[in-house]
């Protein structure tokens, strides 16, 4: 049940919140959340709920086994339980997400004729599997206590605020909130405000930029002008940011309404001045997960340069593969791995001597190229599109269609540009530094309230009137 659906906004959320706050006590409220999460997830099909239940059961059992064996002084046994749990999680993910990819790759490389399985991937499987892995590793490392009540594991892995597309919450950061979190009027209000911001990002900006980018990417590359190709790439650059950060805002907002503090997923990634910085600001919960559970266990950077390089490439190949079971995604991940390796081992501190605006432009160039690879269905398609952006093939610099897109989506492009910069935090800091009367503060507060109300109303009009558009990250 997507957050931008009529069902969620006007039926599920008010009902879930109403019952939640009517029920006293932590245990009762956790029960409400768990039941609500089950309904939320079952909306996409009971078969998906069954897969989630199996995953929860396996992780609960493995967690109990790890804890029990470790407390009994059998650390080797605990490690075996951890490995078994990791294998089970990876197998679950692989069977739904990667089996077809592996079979088709084996057929292509080895000339085999393996049947290509086509299992329907449960939505959010990549996210809840990673949370399951986080649970096992954090329990094994003794960074957080095991949950003896399976329903608490279910609440962690299946919480409706995060199950579909994150943020990926590390168990070590979450476990305390199962028992102790602060529901308050302030949290509900701040959660609602954050939710509206996310909804508006998705409905108003991402939707329009998505229409534009889809139309341009669907155009045969031979028919694209250079400006048209760039517009398509920039539109997708905006779309994916506002789509995913909008979703994350909504998830964080919903979590806050129920007293949870969920990790931030974005920190204005498009102001980055290096690819490394970009990935510290983009999908932060995924980056943190890979750093914590893959990169550091591989040795991180406290190894030789060669091993460090290997670690970087492994992490980024896996990051690409996590996003999708195609070679294009692997290439996209490796592309970033190579970029980061170059920044780390080749450019190094020399980057600091480069003019900051130029660093920013070069970083965005690398990011936009990355999104073209990400968006294109095949590697051939990606290279053809990049060729169009580079002006290969004697194409026109600009065409009427590109001008049309520029004019038609000028509002969304302009708002997207401003909203992708830290304008709001900057204004907030200025505002807080300014001496002002109580009346001015009141007017500003009313203004913010009015803006939120207007954004909510406009978003509703978009949701009701336009064909439903799912979030891009749901397919991962």
């Amino acid at each position: 049940m997507p957050f931008n659906s009529v069902t969620f906004l006007f039926a599920f959320l008010p009902l879930a919140a109403g019952i939640y706050f009517a029920v006293p006590g932590r245990r009762g409220r956790n029960g409400v959340l768990l039941a609500a999460s089950a309904v939320f997830y079952a909306y996409g099909g009971l078969n998906s709920l069954l897969v989630l239940a199996i995953s929860i059961a396996v992780n609960y059992a493995c967690g109990m086994a790890i804890d029990s064996l470790r407390s009994g002084g059998r650390s080797a046994g605990a490690k075996t339980a951890l490995v078994a749990g990791v294998v089970a999680n990876v197998a679950l993910l692989a069977s739904f997400k990667y089996l077809g990819f592996l079979a088709s790759s084996a057929n292509a490389v080895g000339g085999l004729h393996l049947p290509i399985p086509s299992l329907i991937m449960p939505i959010g499987v990549s996210f809840f599997t990673f949370e399951g892995l986080s649970y096992l590793v954090d329990v094994y490392r003794d960074r957080a206590p095991v949950q003896r009540n399976p329903l608490d594991v279910a609440l962690y892995m299946g919480l409706f605020a995060t199950i579909l597309a994150g943020p990926i919450v590390r168990y070590g950061d979450f476990h305390a909130q199962i028992r102790d979190r602060g529901e308050s009027l302030e949290n509900v209000a701040m959660g609602a405000r954050r939710f509206i911001v996310g909804l508006a990002k998705k409905a108003i900006i991402a939707g329009a930029l998505g229409t534009m980018s889809n139309a341009i990417f669907a155009t045969p590359t031979a028919n694209l002008s250079v400006a048209g190709a760039w517009l398509g790439a920039l539109a997708f650059t905006g779309q994916i940011y506002f789509d995913f950060s909008g979703y994350s805002d909504m998830a964080i907002g919903v979590g806050r309404m129920f007293g949870f503090t969920l990790p931030e997923n974005f920190n204005y990634p498009y102001i980055s001045q290096s690819v490394t910085e970009f990935w510290r600001r983009w999908h932060m919960s995924l980056g943190t997960w890979f750093r914590e559970y893959v990169y550091i266990p591989l040795g991180g950077n406290r190894v030789t340069k060669l091993v460090n390089l290997r670690n970087i490439l492994i992490v980024w190949a896996l990051t690409g593969l996590w996003h999708g079971a195609t070679w294009s995604f692997v290439l996209w991940g490796l592309y970033y791995g190579v970029m980061m390796a170059i920044e780390k081992f080749v450019i190094g501190a020399a980057a600091d001597r480069v003019w900051r605006p130029l660093r920013h432009v070069l970083t965005m160039l690398a990011v936009v190229v990355g999104w073209v690879i990400f968006k294109s269905e095949t590697m051939g398609g990606a290279f053809a599109y990049l060729g169009a952006m580079a002006g290969f093939g004697g194409r026109a610099l600009i065409d009427p269609r590109a001008l049309y897109y520029l004019g038609q989506y000028r509002f969304e492009l302009a708002v997207g540009l401003v909203a992708s910069l830290p304008v709001v935090p900057y204004v907030r800091v200025l505002w807080e530094r300014t001496e002002r009367s109580a009346a001015a503060t009141g007017v500003a507060r009313f203004g913010m309230l009015a803006i939120s109300g207007a954004l909510f109303a406009v978003s509703i009009a978009y949701i009701v009137s336009t064909t439903f558009s799912p979030f891009l990250y749901f397919k991962f």
Binding site: L185, A192, S452, G453
Partner: protein
């Protein structure tokens, strides 16, 4: 420390957010469901039934979403507001497949058209002509006449009115001359209405807010068709023209939530000298050539010949006149209300809706003297629906 005013602000946030969500959610549920939307001109989803298989696959959830969205409280107002905001507020020129052309003329968005190469056009043309060969053989086997009437769509005829960034596809524009040349080569008589329309370009041949032709355009097409069959059409002074005072709902305007002022009116005609007739529509007697149009009701182009029908038979009991079989889509509806006057028995098929038999079987069964195929230029190579002569696999087009 939270101050009193901050607490008020927070309470207001919560009240606004959940107040709107609850009011709209509950309001939509307690109000009785609407069967259809006059604004969107479509049936609305009704309360879904629970089936185990739908619960398992997630289909039930999707049905619930469609239902709640369709029955959303104040849906028409939300839809209209969205259209106003997009088209008027943000100055967009296209929405829901409709493009605002020069002078405010509404046109169809053809930008998703997948262009055909010359080789593909050649292959498609060959397959299309093979169908005409078979139809011609069937018609001429008993001494009948086959005539193809090709006409431009509004998108095609007014292609110069597309705003910058939009265009009528080049490949479709290239097909027309090839199509008529191929018909000639295959010995199939044809009329190109585009050539007739060109001579009347300064007249209003298409509605601004609808994708169909006006009565003027329909009358020109009708006249060309009858002249192509060697029959004298009824001139305008032989008809009683009535411009209906009812509000006309244009198909394109409907798609953009009636954002444009709808000032156009629809004109209907009947022969000045009445001709008695019987009319059977999809097997049932239904005398009226036009859909009922009470004074306060809005009317659409579908008023002509009571809208798209699988089969209409009009009999004037004048055996000395020839019989007609006319195959066409909604553009034919307006022609049908005129054409029957020139024939003894006239039969009208819309193969998107008629499933009893194939066109070839129908021709063999009724042996009409004149067989007319009306086809719009965007569908010259289309071999489905009204472009499928040999099978009975109807395909309801997205456009009426």
């Amino acid at each position: 420390m939270v101050t009193v005013s901050e607490r008020w602000e927070q309470a207001l946030y919560v009240a606004i957010f959940f107040g709107i969500a609850v009011a709209l959610g509950v309001g939509g549920l307690v109000r009785s469901d609407r069967a259809s939307s006059s604004l969107e001109q479509r049936t609305l989803a009704q309360r879904p039934t629970v089936a185990w298989v739908d619960l398992v696959t997630g289909e039930f959830g999707r049905n619930v979403e469609t239902y709640l969205s369709d029955q959303f409280l104040g849906r028409d107002t939300w839809v209209r507001s969205y259209a106003q905001l997009s088209l008027r507020g943000l100055g967009k020129v296209d929405m829901n497949g409709v493009v605002i052309g020069k002078g405010g003329i509404l046109l169809g968005d053809m930008s998703s058209h997948q262009p055909l190469t010359d080789a593909e056009i050649g292959a498609e043309l060959e397959a299309t002509m093979a169908q005409f060969d078979r139809l011609k053989a069937a018609v001429t086997s008993y001494g009948g006449t086959l005539l193809v009437v090709g006409h431009p769509t509004k998108n095609s005829f007014l292609r110069a009115d597309y705003p910058a960034g939009f265009a009528f596809p080049d490949d479709l524009a290239r097909i027309a001359p090839l199509y008529f040349a191929a018909l000639k080569q295959h010995g199939v008589a044809s009329v190109d209405v585009a050539a007739v329309f060109e001579k009347h370009r300064d007249e209003k041949l298409y509605y601004d807010t609808d994708h169909h032709w006006t009565f003027t355009g329909a009358h020109l097409a009708y006249s060309s068709m009858l002249e192509g069959l060697g029959i004298k059409p009824l001139a305008l002074d032989e008809l009683v023209l009535t411009t209906l005072p009812n509000k006309f709902v244009g198909s394109f305007n409907r798609k953009i939530a009636m954002t444009f002022p709808q000032t156009e009116k629809i004109t209907i005609a009947s022969p000045r000298v009445p001709i008695p007739y019987t009319r059977v529509q999809d097997g049932k007697v239904s005398h009226d050539l036009f859909k009922a149009h009470p004074a306060k009701a809005s009317v659409a182009y579908g008023i002509y010949d009571q809208g798209d029908r699988g089969e209409i038979v009009i009999d004037t009991n004048r055996p000395k006149l020839p019989s007609l079989l006319f195959v066409g889509d909604s553009f034919g509806n307006a022609i049908e209300t005129l054409a029957w006057t020139g024939f003894d028995e006239s039969r009208y098929l819309d193969l998107r809706h008629y499933t009893a038999m194939s066109l070839l079987d129908y021709v063999a069964k009724y042996k009409p003297d004149d067989v007319v195929i009306l086809v719009r230029d965007e569908r010259y190579l289309y071999r489905n629906g009204n472009g499928l002569f040999t099978g009975s696999a109807p395909s309801v087009d997205s456009e009426e």
